[in-house]
């Protein structure tokens, strides 16, 4: 039987290890990212010498070297490169993606695969996500339980600042950083996009933010804050990835072995104040743009 993993990042590394150790034999993994130094504090299938290589390929190689009985097929590219025929071959899909857009895409794809007359076409989607000491796991049976789109309004999304504040009344260091990236950068580098992996670009943003902040008597600009705001960095640690990935894989294991009840259908974990978990059944939305009416 064939499973697959989307995203070989923090959750993906854990998911591949868990599936391989739980006896899954045929796994596909898709990831469009390459390995970066800042991944190494948690993405344990990668080493310093792997920086710059495809996450999917390195992860697959590493796990197959440790566990000989598993076959992992990596794909270095986007989810969207693959068509329905490709997705039809799998028993279930586990996603450890870091973008809402990619999650929405795979969710919609799996909902559209469902043929009401053929239960085989229902591919469970198990989705995990983390932020710092917190995380969540969702089990989605397309058209049978709430889909990813149905639960979209539970997401807080990225913080944005009104343009007039950024341009006229900056008060926080973040406002100065937005000014540097949204207004000063295009002025100084017309037509060129910011690449936060290029140190010169980051230096430009840092200096422009600092200058702006000094002009307005605002304190608190650091290089780390500049990077955090511009790249929308979400704190991430190995521990939380382990918890959420294992929850996802445990649900996958229960689904394929039909051994125990599966999570119905949403679990939140928080380790900031003691340990707190909360599970609840998210209801399908009758007017959901993706699965409503199906």
């Amino acid at each position: 039987m064939s499973r697959r993993v989307l995203g070989a990042g923090g959750l993906g590394c854990e998911i591949l290890k868990n599936l391989a150790c739980s006896g899954f034999k045929d796994i596909h993994v898709i990831d469009m990212d390459t390995i970066d130094l800042s991944n190494l504090n948690r993405q344990f299938l990668f080493r310093h010498s792997d920086i710059g290589r495809s996450k999917a390929e390195v992860a697959a190689e590493f796990v197959m070297k440790r566990v000989k009985s598993v076959k992992i097929t990596p794909y270095f590219g986007k989810l969207q490169d693959k068509d329905e025929e490709y997705y039809k071959q799998f028993t279930l899909v586990i996603s450890g993606l870091d973008s809402i857009e990619a999650r929405r895409w795979i969710n919609a794809k799996l909902v559209h695969l469902v043929d009401p007359d053929n239960f085989e076409t229902v591919k469970p989607l198990i989705d995990g996500g983390t932020e710092g000491f917190r995380g969540q796991a969702k089990v989605i049976f397309p058209t049978f339980s709430a889909c990813y789109e149905c639960s979209l309004d539970t997401l807080s999304g990225q913080t944005t600042y009104p343009l007039c504040t950024i341009a006229n009344n900056p008060r926080l260091p973040e406002h100065c950083i937005e000014f540097a990236s949204q207004i000063e950068w295009p002025k100084a580098h017309p037509g060129e996009k910011i690449d936060t992996d290029v140190p010169e670009h980051v230096t430009f943003l840092y200096e422009a933010s600092l200058k702006r902040a000094e002009e307005f008597n605002i304190t608190g600009i650091t290089r780390s804050l500049v990077l955090g705001v511009v790249k929308n960095i979400i704190p991430a640690i190995a521990s939380t990835n382990a918890i959420i990935a294992a929850s996802c894989c445990n649900e996958a294991f229960k689904i394929v072995s039909s051994s125990n009840p599966t999570l119905d259908n949403f679990m939140m974990y928080s380790g900031t104040d003691s340990v707190f978990t909360y599970s609840f059944a998210y209801e399908r939305k009758p007017d959901c743009q993706v699965c409503g009416g199906l």
């Binding site: 504090n41 008060r171 003691s274």
Partner: protein
């Protein structure tokens, strides 16, 4: 690795526990007794973020097929090699910043228990945390005396168990959601003067829309008090009227600052000077500050804090944090400086008190950096303290045991451990009746429900499922990080995970 590289490599975690937490982690030494799949995963999650040093104690054995089936850190190529050597080297290889040592026990020479019992205090004192998969009484007693935290963690089949033995938790960097403390009901001269310098009604519409909401709220409180015998709104009806008062001052429908003042008005009135957690800590000052053996940096700071409160009308030091408020840069920065200055003045007062205290304590007093003092003052509303008796068999077992499914799982872990201790083997289905009998030593329970859970546990033959081991290793490592960095609030003190129903439950065993 250079400092710059290190900051980049650890960037995603430094955003959670900052350099102070990272240096605690990097100087920490931990001990793992007889690694399992669960504790191997736990260790991995501590090696990746850069724990200083780990030591593994285990029997000298060769890797067999069973080892390979449930531990990712033993590769198929390693069959027949020394288990402890391969495990330690495969784990350390994850992060070259980390060092390790191993202690091989030759079973023909004695047991791990013998080795543990033979070690002196000096040996144990090198560790910041000891992690084991079973509750060895002599070890727990010894480590409790030395105030070294010990974590017992294991998984059997679909179930996981985690218990932390730590005599006291004393944390000031608890990372609450927000440190904002506006004190609108108890202004000080500078804030009052600034507010008085603004006459809302005479401002033109542009200026009127640029006054930070805090000032609007302050003026609304004054106005209300003036018209209500100096009382504050208490009933929900009055609070609604208070909002209406602010709304009536709007000069235009679209004034974001007034909307912010209305939306945040509920926060004005539920402001307590000293929250119950801090009151409780104050009530322990005699016990902890006055006893030389218990007087940690935390308690010296608490003692200073209590004196500060007594000298400052019952107020804690101001955090100085402000939320963003719609306004001009100038108005906002002016207000920010007023809060910052007050926070700095409070900090200076606290420092004075601390210096006098330390003079009184003389030589025995530990140095406390300005950085620590500042952090403590800022977080003083959110201090966390808890103490534990660390009884192996908790005295409150009867109280927490309510025959719920989860408490039966907890009970089952105690039963199985007792059985293993007595017979030196893992129970089989034939032993269920004996296990039920053991349960009566702890509490009286519904034997039928207990039977089902014991059956599930015993059926696993003591084997760990990789997913559950990995999950418990994740939970254990979060708790280990919290204990080592003294940041965030750790589990206090026991948890079970039920992978069948995907739930956790926690108790304070005492």
């Amino acid at each position: 690795m250079t400092q710059v590289n290190k900051e980049e490599k650890y960037d995603r975690q430094l955003r959670l526990w900052a350099n102070s937490g990272q240096s605690s982690l990097e100087s920490a030494k931990i001990l793992i007794i007889q690694p399992t799949s669960t504790t191997s995963e736990l260790l991995k999650n501590l090696i990746l973020p850069g724990i200083g040093h780990f030591t593994i104690i285990d029997y000298d054995s060769k890797i067999n097929d069973v080892d390979l089936s449930n531990n990712f850190y033993l590769g198929d190529d390693d069959l027949g090699k020394s288990k402890i050597d391969v495990l330690a080297s495969n784990l350390q290889e994850l992060n070259h910043d980390v060092s390790y040592s191993i202690q091989k026990i030759d079973p023909s020479q004695g047991s791990i228990e013998d080795f543990i019992n033979a070690q002196n205090d000096l040996y144990w004192s090198q560790f910041d945390l000891v992690i084991s998969n079973y509750q060895l009484e002599s070890l727990i007693t010894k480590l409790n005396d030395l105030k070294i935290p010990i974590m017992i963690i294991n998984s059997i089949g679909f179930y996981g168990f985690l218990r932390i033995f730590k005599s006291t938790f004393e944390i000031y960097e608890t990372h609450p959601q927000s440190l904002i403390d506006l004190r609108i009901l108890s202004t000080w001269d500078e804030l009052q003067n600034y507010s008085d310098s603004i006459d809302l009604h005479s401002l033109d519409i542009e200026q009127h829309s640029q006054i930070p909401y805090l000032i609007i709220q302050l003026k609304a409180v004054e106005n209300w008090r003036l018209n209500h015998d100096n009382q504050l709104p208490t009933t929900s009806q009055e609070k609604k009227q208070f909002k209406e008062l602010i709304r009536s001052w709007k000069k235009d429908h679209y004034q974001l600052n007034f909307d912010e003042a209305i939306d945040n008005s509920h926060k004005i009135f539920n402001n307590v000077k000293i929250p119950s957690n801090v009151k409780d800590i104050f009530s322990h000052i005699d016990e902890y500050y006055n006893d030389f053996n218990k007087r940690s940096v935390f308690w010296i700071l608490v003692k200073a804090l209590k004196e500060f409160v007594d000298l400052n009308d019952g107020f804690l030091p101001l955090s100085g944090e402000l939320p963003d408020m719609d306004s001009t840069t100038e108005n906002y920065i002016k207000l920010q400086n007023i809060y910052l200055k007050k926070a700095q003045e409070d900090l200076a007062k606290l420092k004075d008190i601390l210096i006098k205290l330390r003079l009184k304590l003389g030589k025995e007093s530990l140095p406390i950096s300005d950085e620590i003092l500042k952090n403590f003052a800022k977080n003083s509303k959110f201090l966390y303290f808890s103490q534990n008796s660390n009884k192996l068999i908790p005295l409150n077992f009867n109280k927490i045991f309510d025959e719920s499914h989860n408490s039966l799982i907890l009970l089952s872990f105690f039963i199985i451990e007792r059985f293993q201790k007595d017979t030196k083997k893992f129970p089989t289905l034939q032993n269920i009746d004996e296990l039920i009998k053991i349960s009566h030593d702890f509490v009286t329970s519904d034997d039928d429900s207990l039977h089902l859970i014991l059956h599930e546990l015993v059926r696993s033959e003591g084997q760990e499922l990789n997913n559950i081991a990995s999950l418990m290793g994740g939970i254990g490592s979060q708790e280990a990080i919290k204990i080592i960095t003294k940041q965030y609030i750790p589990l206090d003190n026991t948890l079970i995970y039920d992978g069948i129903n995907s739930v956790t439950e926690r108790w304070k065993l005492d």
